[in-house]
Symmetry: C3
Subunit: 139 residues, 3 copies
């Protein structure tokens, strides 16, 4: 067995917003002795996604939100699926165009992220939820 840890994180979100998870994930890794590893994250939803994004300037994520809103507009007459409202189908497509899982290398108990890289959970629906993210550590 090389998978040394697995847990489900519950993360509150806000409508159309990203939540940074970098510190929370880093703290879990620090509790394990990992020389070389992989941290795997998986979001258990089809209307929220995971992102590695520039972490210095918050306007980057604001620009990204505005870009996705223009690319996949709510109320587009193309969409038949509106079960949960006009934000439903755009949320599925935004999730598919970004990531449902991330895997990030670990070295000496730290994520090998670049200095401008942060880990984010991205809520694509127009309301707040508590989202589940499965964290798995491999060594």
């Amino acid at each position: 067995m090389s998978i040394i840890h697995q847990e489900i994180l519950k993360i509150p979100t806000r409508a159309y917003h990203t939540v940074e998870m970098t510190a929370e994930v880093g703290a879990i890794i620090k509790q394990h002795a990992i020389k070389w590893g992989i941290c795997h994250l998986f979001v258990r939803h089809t209307s929220a996604s995971l992102l590695i994004c520039e972490n210095a300037d918050p306007t980057v994520r604001q620009d990204l939100e505005n870009f996705l809103r223009r690319l996949v507009p709510e109320g587009d007459p193309l969409f038949l699926h509106q079960t949960e409202g006009p934000d439903d189908m755009p949320a599925h497509i935004r999730t598919i165009l970004t990531q449902t899982s991330l895997s990030i290398p670990i070295q000496n108990n730290s994520l090998l992220l670049g200095i401008w890289q942060g880990i984010y959970l991205y809520e694509h629906r127009g309301q707040a939820f508590t989202r589940e993210v499965v964290l798995t550590l491999q060594s």
Copy 2:
């Protein structure tokens, strides 16, 4: 060694359609004793991709197809590469905008998918093929 199984699945597709693989992948996992694991899937093609998508309402995948068809239209004068026809270059781009591989956590011999998440192989060409997907189990 932590990789306990690897096999190549051969999956028939239909033009511009998704094929659900969730049950087939789940059945393979059931044959192995995995407390904590990762299921890794990799499609060996550049004109077909893998997707985690809402699995309850089929119009979600129909809307996705219509969205991608509008975003990356066939016969776009932008495209020089048309070796195999007008669906050739759009298929490559649609593959790149979605996923060539998926990795999904396993717990107690079951995929830790959310209740609305299904695994799909997505054919981006305008004809049927048999596509190869490599399944690898890590424990």
Copy 3:
């Protein structure tokens, strides 16, 4: 421990171009005895990404570049973030729409890529950089 190797590759890029890494990655794998494995690649930047793409006709990557340039144009008045110039925010979005990490199955010391699949590092900024890619081998 199932992670048998990890190293950071330094790869020079050119503005808006892809660099093929398939042979370099394959040569590193050949140095290890791996019956079944996964090769994981992670780019430590938010303005460059990783890609599995058709490797036979170079116009595929030229068409992809032209498509992304039209989809995420430089100088778009939508973008507030321009810290490093008009190519800054488009580079972040292009990275997010493609991949920050890849994982590719290995069998008998070879990548299980399809015959038309190549591994590429994609520079999304309008200048040359040296980019870091973390390679991790799991067996």
